[in-house]
C-alpha cells in the first residue's frame, strides 16, 4: 500500500497505515486485542486489517487484558511479533503483572535468549469527555520499569513511522497514542522522507527564552503556548520528547543550556510523573545554566475528575504560559 507520495492523514490514519505496512513487511507481525477485528477497535485504528490479513493475524481476544498480554508473551517466544491493543489507558492495569514481571524481564532473565519484540499500544490521555478510567496517563509507571521502552507519538506522521519502528524493535515497547488527537488535526505524510530514530526527542520549534518540554497530547498545547508567547515577544523553544524511556536528554540539555529555563507539561499526575525525572536530570546536568527552577505543568495529584471539569485538570495554554511567566520572573 505504498500509494501516492504525499497524503493528508489523521493520527488514526497514520497508525492504521503504519500497522498495515508492518504487517505487509513481516508475516510474523500479529495484532491482538479486544474488538480489533470486525470493529477495527473502538477507535478504528485497526480498521480493515482483519479483513485483509485474516483472523489468525488480527486476533480478537476474550475480555481479559492479562490474558492478552500473557498469550502475546507466548507468541513472542514462538517467534511472533505481537502488537497488543489495550482499549483504554485505564484498562491496562489487569495486565500490569504480565507487563512488568514478564514482558519487561524476559530478555534479562534469559540472558538475551528470549527476546520480547512486543508492542503494547495504549490510547492515553484525556479531553474526550469520557467516564472514569478512559482518560488516564499511565506512562510513568512503565517508564520506571527497566526492560520496557516507552514512547509517545504526538502527530500523524510520527504515528505512521513510530509504530513501524516500534514493531521492528526487538525490545518491548509501550506505545502511547494521544487518543484526543486520533481524529483531530491532519498532516502531510510524505513516506519517501526518512523518519527520525524512534528513541529520539525532537526540537519542534526553536526559541531562546525558555524551553518547553512536552509529549503526546501536550505537544500541541506547548506549540500553541509558544505561538501565543511569540505575540508577546517571548521566544520559546519546544521539544517533543517522543521517547520517555529511554529519555533522550541531549537535545533537552542543549536547549536548557541556551535558554536557562525549562518547563515540562504532561497530563499525568505531577507527583512522580515524567516531569520529576526530567527536572531531576536537568538540575543535575545544567546546574549552572539554570536561571530558575525547572517547573512542571501537569495533571494534579487527584484521580481523573468528572469530564465536565476535566479541562481544569488538564494542563492548557494558560497554565503553561503562567508557568513561563513564573520561570521568567523568578
Amino acid at each position: 500500500m505504498s500509494s501516492t507520495r504525499t497524503q493528508r492523514i489523521t493520527l488514526a490514519k497514520g497508525l492504521n497505515m503504519g500497522l498495515r505496512k508492518a504487517m505487509e513487511d513481516d508475516p510474523k507481525v500479529l495484532i491482538m486485542g479486544e474488538d480489533v477485528g470486525k470493529l477495527g477497535g473502538v477507535f478504528r485504528i485497526t480498521d480493515g486489517l482483519q479483513k485483509d490479513f485474516g483472523e489468525d493475524r488480527v486476533i480478537d481476544s476474550p475480555l481479559a487484558e492479562s490474558g492478552i498480554v500473557g498469550t502475546a508473551v507466548g507468541l513472542a517466544l514462538r517467534g511472533y511479533r505481537p502488537v497488543v491493543e489495550i482499549q483504554f489507558d485505564g484498562f491496562v492495569y489487569p495486565a500490569y503483572d504480565q507487563i512488568v514481571a514478564q514482558v519487561a524481564k524476559m530478555h534479562y532473565r534469559s540472558q538475551g535468549r528470549s527476546p520480547m519484540p512486543m508492542v503494547i499500544r495504549i490510547p492515553f490521555g484525556g479531553g474526550i469527555g469520557a467516564v472514569e478510567h478512559h482518560s488516564e496517563s499511565p506512562e510513568a509507571q512503565f517508564a520506571h520499569t527497566p526492560g520496557l521502552k516507552v514512547v509517545a507519538c504526538s502527530n500523524p506522521v510520527d504515528g505512521y513511522w513510530m509504530i513501524q519502528q516500534a514493531i521492528a524493535s526487538d525490545d518491548p515497547v509501550i506505545f502511547l497514542e494521544p487518543k484526543r488527537q486520533y481524529h483531530a488535526d491532519k498532516a502531510d505524510l510524505d513516506d519517501s522522507m526518512a523518519p527520525d530514530p524512534l528513541f529520539s526527542s525532537r526540537v519542534v520549534r526553536r526559541g531562546s527564552d525558555a524551553t518547553l518540554l512536552a509529549y503526546g497530547p501536550t505537544v500541541k498545547t506547548a506549540m500553541k503556548a509558544a505561538e501565543a508567547a511569540a505575540t508577546e515577544g517571548r521566544s520559546l523553544e519546544v521539544i517533543d520528547l517522543r521517547t520517555l524511556s529511554p529519555l533522550d536528554m541531549g537535545p533537552v540539555f542543549d536547549s536548557v543550556r541556551r535558554t536557562g529555563r525549562a518547563i515540562i507539561t504532561h497530563e499525568a499526575h505531577v507527583n512522580l510523573g515524567v516531569g520529576a525525572e526530567v527536572a531531576a536530570r536537568v538540575q543535575e546536568e545544567c546546574f549552572y545554566s539554570l536561571e530558575s527552577p525547572v517547573l512542571r505543568v501537569c495533571g494534579f495529584d487527584i484521580p481523573y475528575p468528572a469530564s465536565r471539569i476535566e479541562e481544569d485538570f488538564l494542563p492548557d495554554l494558560d497554565r503553561v504560559l503562567d508557568a513561563v511567566d513564573r520561570s521568567l520572573e523568578f
Binding site: L39, P62, Y93, V131, F300, D301, A306, R308
Partner: protein, 381 residues
C-alpha cells in the same frame, strides 16, 4: 486413542439461539405461562403489574437517556434495551438488606433500589463519578473496570458472614449480595477469582451474569465455548440459565439463589440469557459486526410485550392501567429531560475534594495554587 469423554462443546452447546434445553422459563415470548419443576411460583396480579410498570419505566429511562446523549446532553450512555426483564427480575428479588454490585448498565436494578435516575444521568453527563449514596440504597456505585466488582461483592458477602447475618433464619437479618456482570466479564481473572473465593468461603453471593451475547463486538463464542452457566460447575457451586427476557423466571430463579445464599448454602451463578438490542453504548456502531437478522429475531422475544399480552389475556390489567403507566412514563421522561439539563456543572475546585478522607498538605497546596491561579482570570472565566 483414549476417550476423554464426550466433547463438552457438543454436549453443552454451542449456545443454541433459543437458550437451549436448560433454559428456565415461566412466560414464553408469546405470553404463555409455562411451568418449571424447580422454579415455579405464583405471582399476584399486583406483582405482575409491578413488573410491567418497572420495565416500561426502565425502558423509558433508557430511551430518554439515549435521546439526551444524541442531543449532546450526555457524554455517552450504556443502553439496556432488551435487558429490562433480566434487571427488573433480579432487582425485585432483592430484600432491603441485600446488597448490589452493579456494572455500568444496571439502570433497571438501580430503579428497583430507589436510585433516582438523574444520578445515573449525572454520571454519564460527566458531572460526577456517581452521586448516590451506596448505603442509602444498598446499591454500590457503577463499576466500569470489567469484573472488578465481582470481587467486591464476594468480600462484602464475607463481611455479612462475619456480621452473623447468614443462616440465622431471621427474614429481616439474613442478607445476600448480588454481583452483576456481563458475558464478556466472565473472561476476566477477577471474576474467576471471585468464584474461587466465594466457593472457598461459601460466601452468600449470587453471581448474576447478563449474557446479552455481546461484549462490544465480541460474540459470546469468543468468551466461552459452552453455555456460561456451566462455568460454575468447575468451581463447585450451582449454575442456572434463565430466560433473561422473562421477568417471572428471572425473578423466581434469582430469588431462589438469593435465598440459598441467605440461608448459608453459598454462591450460585445465574446466567440470564438475553440480548443487547441496542448498541454497546451510544458511541458504538453494531452494524460493523452483527447482522440485523439476529436483532430482528430477538425482537420477537421482547420482555415487555410478553407480560402485556399475559396481563391483557388474563384480564389482570385494563386499558386504564396501561394508559396510566404510559402517563407515568411520559412524566418521568419529562422530569429526566428537564432534570438532566438542569444538573449543575461541578465547580472546578471541587475536583480536589474527597481524594482522601484526611486531606494532605500537598493537595491543599495544589488546590490553593489553582484557586489563586483561577483568580487571576477573575471575570475572564
Amino acid at each position: 486413542m483414549p476417550d476423554f469423554g464426550p466433547d463438552l462443546a457438543e454436549v453443552f452447546g454451542p449456545a443454541a439461539a433459543d437458550g437451549g434445553p436448560d433454559l428456565v422459563q415461566l412466560l414464553t415470548p408469546e405470553g404463555e405461562r409455562v411451568h418449571h419443576p424447580e422454579f415455579d411460583r405464583d405471582f399476584s396480579a399486583e406483582e405482575l403489574r409491578g413488573f410491567y410498570r418497572d420495565m416500561v419505566l426502565t425502558r423509558r429511562i433508557d430511551t430518554e437517556a439515549t435521546a439526551l446523549q444524541r442531543h449532546g446532553e450526555l457524554g455517552i450512555w450504556a443502553q439496556l434495551l432488551g435487558q429490562e426483564a433480566a434487571q427488573i427480575g433480579a432487582g425485585r428479588a432483592l430484600r432491603p438488606q441485600d446488597y448490589v454490585f452493579p456494572t455500568y448498565r444496571e439502570h433497571g436494578v438501580a430503579w428497583c433500589r430507589g436510585v433516582d435516575p438523574l444520578h445515573l444521568l449525572g454520571l454519564f453527563r460527566g458531572v460526577d463519578h456517581g452521586s448516590w449514596d451506596p448505603k442509602d440504597h444498598n446499591f454500590g456505585l457503577y463499576t466500569i473496570v470489567i469484573g472488578a466488582q465481582a470481587l467486591h461483592a464476594t468480600g462484602y458477602a464475607m463481611g455479612i458472614q462475619r456480621d452473623g447475618a447468614v443462616g440465622t433464619g431471621d427474614h429481616d437479618r439474613d442478607a445476600a449480595v448480588i454481583a452483576h456482570f456481563g458475558d464478556g466479564a466472565s473472561s476476566q481473572g477477577d471474576v474467576n477469582e471471585a468464584f474461587i473465593f466465594a466457593a472457598s468461603y461459601n460466601a452468600p453471593v449470587v453471581f448474576f451474569c447478563q449474557n446479552n451475547q455481546w461484549a462490544i463486538s465480541e460474540p459470546i463464542e469468543r468468551q466461552s465455548r459452552i453455555p456460561l452457566f456451566q462455568r460454575a460447575l468447575g468451581f463447585g457451586f450451582p449454575g442456572v440459565r434463565v430466560d433473561g427476557n422473562d421477568v417471572l423466571a428471572t425473578y423466581a430463579v434469582t430469588q431462589a439463589a438469593l435465598q440459598r445464599a441467605r440461608e448459608g448454602s453459598g454462591p450460585t451463578l445465574v446466567e440470564a440469557y438475553t440480548y443487547r438490542m441496542g448498541a454497546h453504548t451510544t458511541t458504538d456502531d453494531p452494524t460493523r459486526y452483527r447482522l440485523s437478522d439476529d436483532v430482528e429475531r430477538w425482537k420477537l422475544k421482547d420482555p415487555i410485550a410478553r407480560v402485556k399480552v399475559y396481563l391483557t389475556r388474563n384480564g389482570l390489567a385494563d386499558d386504564d392501567f396501561f394508559a396510566s403507566i404510559q402517563a407515568e412514563a411520559d412524566d418521568l421522561g419529562h422530569r429526566l429531560r428537564e432534570g438532566c439539563k438542569a444538573l449543575p456543572d461541578p465547580k472546578p475546585l471541587s475536583m480536589f475534594n474527597h481524594v482522601y478522607a484526611e486531606e494532605t498538605d500537598e493537595l491543599r497546596q495544589q488546590r490553593e495554587g489553582y484557586a489563586a491561579y483561577l483568580e487571576t482570570f477573575e471575570g475572564a472565566r
